[in-house]
């Protein structure tokens, strides 16, 4: 399997906006098919059976959503500019003058996001709303209609890079960082003789309605699920009490809807194995796939492990790859111990 950093760069470069996750899914399929049987379900989820569970065994589902935020073309204007709608929660202050890519059946069209220029607006100039922007693909109406169509996906143009201090930045690290974590954990577990079942799910549509996670957890029917997502890393303009810190290890979620027993075990194991960790306390729903997984069938014990991330939902999301490696180790150690416990 490709190493963690290369996998992060590759997965983050792949294009997979909610509902159109084929890009990162097919990349992950190549990596995961070495570890177990892979199938793609009706909603575009990737489900990899790393260890088939036998009756009565525990069955761990290691989950991460594979979709990224983006836009979808809704209309071609008379002069060839495109109107779009958002797929996922956008930070509107990033939009203007950003270079984007329109993904059509024939290939990728570069474009630029525009709106009314500042000299034509008086007074306060708020960030434009998504329905106020246009995408300039440099084509008149006819040519635009030949090259693109409503329903085509739009992403920010972004180049993934390594920063000083070993950080990685790029688009879609929410949640390809989570995908790489569960892929790496599966790799660490694949050689072990374990008394349990293990499935990896890379699930679709989290940024819209988490329909992927609900369907995948129904199909996998695990006894325990851990979903890995990204969470807020501290930057000086944020509140410390709402954030984790980059490089300080995976954030173990604690919330009324999650299995407290699983959260406690994760913390205990992190301490014992000297894996750096942080907590993330949530008062209710987690804003992750866990909210969709918990009530599936008769209910699934679920935990959330998060990779700290700065600048979430931008083309310059920033993570520390060491947090991914540590999160993968934590998941693997947890599964090993839990498989052995009461077995």
């Amino acid at each position: 399997m490709t190493n963690v950093k290369e996998l992060l760069l590759g997965m983050s470069s792949a294009v997979g906006v909610s509902g159109r996750e084929e890009g990162p899914v097919s990349l992950a399929e190549k990596e995961l098919s070495a570890l177990g049987q892979v199938r793609i379900d009706a909603l575009g989820n990737l489900i990899c059976t790393v260890k088939e569970p036998r009756a009565g065994q525990k069955h761990f589902m290691l989950d991460a959503h594979v979709d990224e935020i983006g836009m979808i073309v809704t209309y071609i204007e008379e002069n060839g500019f495109l109107k779009v709608a958002a797929c996922g929660g956008f930070d509107r202050k990033l939009l203007l003058a950003s270079q984007v890519e329109v993904h059509t059946d024939q290939g990728v069209l570069p474009g630029v996001i525009c709106s009314i220029p500042p000299h034509l607006q008086s007074g306060e100039k708020p960030n434009p709303k998504i329905d106020e922007i246009y995408i300039d693909i440099g084509c008149g109406r006819e040519e635009a209609a030949r090259r693109t169509a409503p329903g085509d996906i739009v992403t920010f143009h972004a180049r993934n890079r390594e920063m000083l201090g070993g950080y990685l930045t790029g688009k879609a690290l929410d949640n390809r960082a989570g995908c790489v974590t569960v892929m790496r954990a599966a790799q660490l577990l694949s050689k072990e003789e374990l008394d349990c079942g293990i499935s990896v799910t890379l699930t679709s549509r989290e940024e819209i309605n988490a329909a992927g996670a609900a369907a995948a957890s129904f199909a996998v029917n695990p006894t325990h699920a851990i979903t890995v997502d990204v969470s807020f890393a501290y930057t000086p303009d944020a509140k410390k009490d709402q954030c984790g810190e980059l490089g300080k290890g995976p954030m173990i979620g604690i919330s009324p809807i999650l299995s407290r027993e699983m959260s406690d075990q994760l913390i205990r194991i992190a301490k014992e194995k000297e894996i750096p960790w942080q907590v993330e306390i949530m008062g209710g729903e987690t804003g992750t796939n866990a909210d969709a997984i918990v009530p599936v069938r008769g209910g699934i014990r679920t935990a959330v492990v998060s990779i700290p991330q700065a600048y979430m939902h931008t083309p310059v999301e920033k993570i520390d790859p060491r947090d991914v490696e540590n999160a993968a180790r934590l998941l693997a150690e947890y599964v090993k111990e839990e498989a052995a416990r009461h077995a």
Binding site: K93, L96, S115, I116, L164, A238, Y311
Partner: protein
């Protein structure tokens, strides 16, 4: 021509730090010029001999600097505070990536996640002095190994050809102007002696052009520029100012200059005479080096010939190739028309 523009845009040169642009231009044009020098402010001043010496000296000017930022302070947490160089819309800054200083350190102009913002914060663009650059350094000491206060900051933006003959890059304002003048210098035999200035610091007030016009002492000066086109969807027809694809834009007035009426007409007539597309600038917006050039010494008759440009002063300026070529053609014809007068 496009290759030349691509090369010019790839060079980093915010206002006050145009040395690399000047060196590139000087090295290319000096072999074909009668005179070529870099003046004390960093302007490249050149004269190319023509077949005749005109009665009235003509200066064609394009500025070398691009908009960007300057590092003003390094915080204890290792983040960089910045001040803009040139008029940058605060709404195009957040979330962009940049290169900082001579080591070209990669940085992110990042803010907290949208999820943690209040509705007011989501609506309002942060002011530039509220933003910081993250270069990955964890402390001031660590950051100081890589950058210093006073270092320039440029946008990270590729040169891209797209759509039906469009170009997107940073710094097209005004490297496209530089490229047009260089192309005339390098490829044309000129009918009259002509002066060229590639000037510094247009975006922060035009002190380069002041010195250049003093030294060259022209009778007529043409500012060769890029100018705001608002020809996008959602803008009323009378507010579009100028249009990509309709050729060079001739100004009668902007915020810095009332242009010479006779020269304004001459530019449009010359375009018509030679079958080159041209358009008037329909609105009094912006300004350029003409504001400095026309006030030099005892006064200089000003003209502005600009390429219509969308998204000016952002990392994603957009020009149309046919406008660039038409601008070059019109300027070459104007050298002949002006020299004959």
């Amino acid at each position: 021509m496009l290759k030349l523009i691509e090369e010019l845009c790839a060079i980093d040169g915010v206002s006050g730090r145009e040395e690399a642009v000047a060196e590139f231009i000087y090295n290319q044009i000096s072999p074909v010029c009668e005179r070529c020098e870099i003046d004390p402010l960093g302007n490249v001043l050149a004269m190319k001999k023509g077949r005749e010496t005109p009665k009235k000296r003509l200066l064609l000017d394009a500025h070398m600097d691009e908009v960007g930022f300057i590092v003003t302070y390094i915080t204890e947490e290792g983040r960089l505070k910045i001040s803009p160089l040139g008029g940058i819309d605060a709404r195009v800054v957040a979330g962009k990536s940049v290169f900082v200083g001579p080591k070209r350190v990669y940085g992110i102009i990042g803010t907290k996640a949208v999820h943690m913002m209040t509705p007011e914060e989501r609506d309002k663009a942060p002011k530039i002095d509220e933003l910081t650059i993250d270069i990955g350094a964890g402390s001031r000491e660590e950051a100081e190994n890589w950058v210093n206060p006073g270092d320039p900051v440029v946008f990270d933006s590729d040169f891209v050809l797209f759509g039906e003959g469009f170009v997107k890059a940073k710094a097209l304002d005004d490297r496209a102007g530089c490229a047009v003048l260089m192309d005339i210098l390098l490829k044309e035999e000129l009918p009259y002696d002509t002066w060229f200035s590639f000037t510094v610091q247009e975006e922060i007030g035009g002190s380069g052009a002041k010195a250049a016009a003093y030294t060259v002492d022209p009778a007529v000066a043409i500012s060769v520029e890029t100018t705001t086109a608002a020809d996008i969807a959602g803008v009323e027809e009378d507010k579009k100012v100028c249009f990509l694809g309709k050729g060079p834009v001739i100004s009668f007035m902007d915020r810095g200059t009332i242009y010479d009426r006779e020269l304004y007409r001459l530019a449009l007539d010359t375009a018509e005479k030679y079958g080159v597309k041209a358009q008037p600038k329909l609105g009094v917006f912006g300004g350029n080096n003409a504001a400095s050039l026309h006030k030099a010494r005892g006064g200089v008759r000003p003209m502005a010939v600009s390429m219509p440009c969308r998204y000016l002063h952002t990392p994603s300026c957009v020009l149309k190739t046919e406008d660039i070529l038409a601008t070059r053609e019109l300027l070459f014809r104007l050298i002949g028309e002006l020299g004959a007068r």
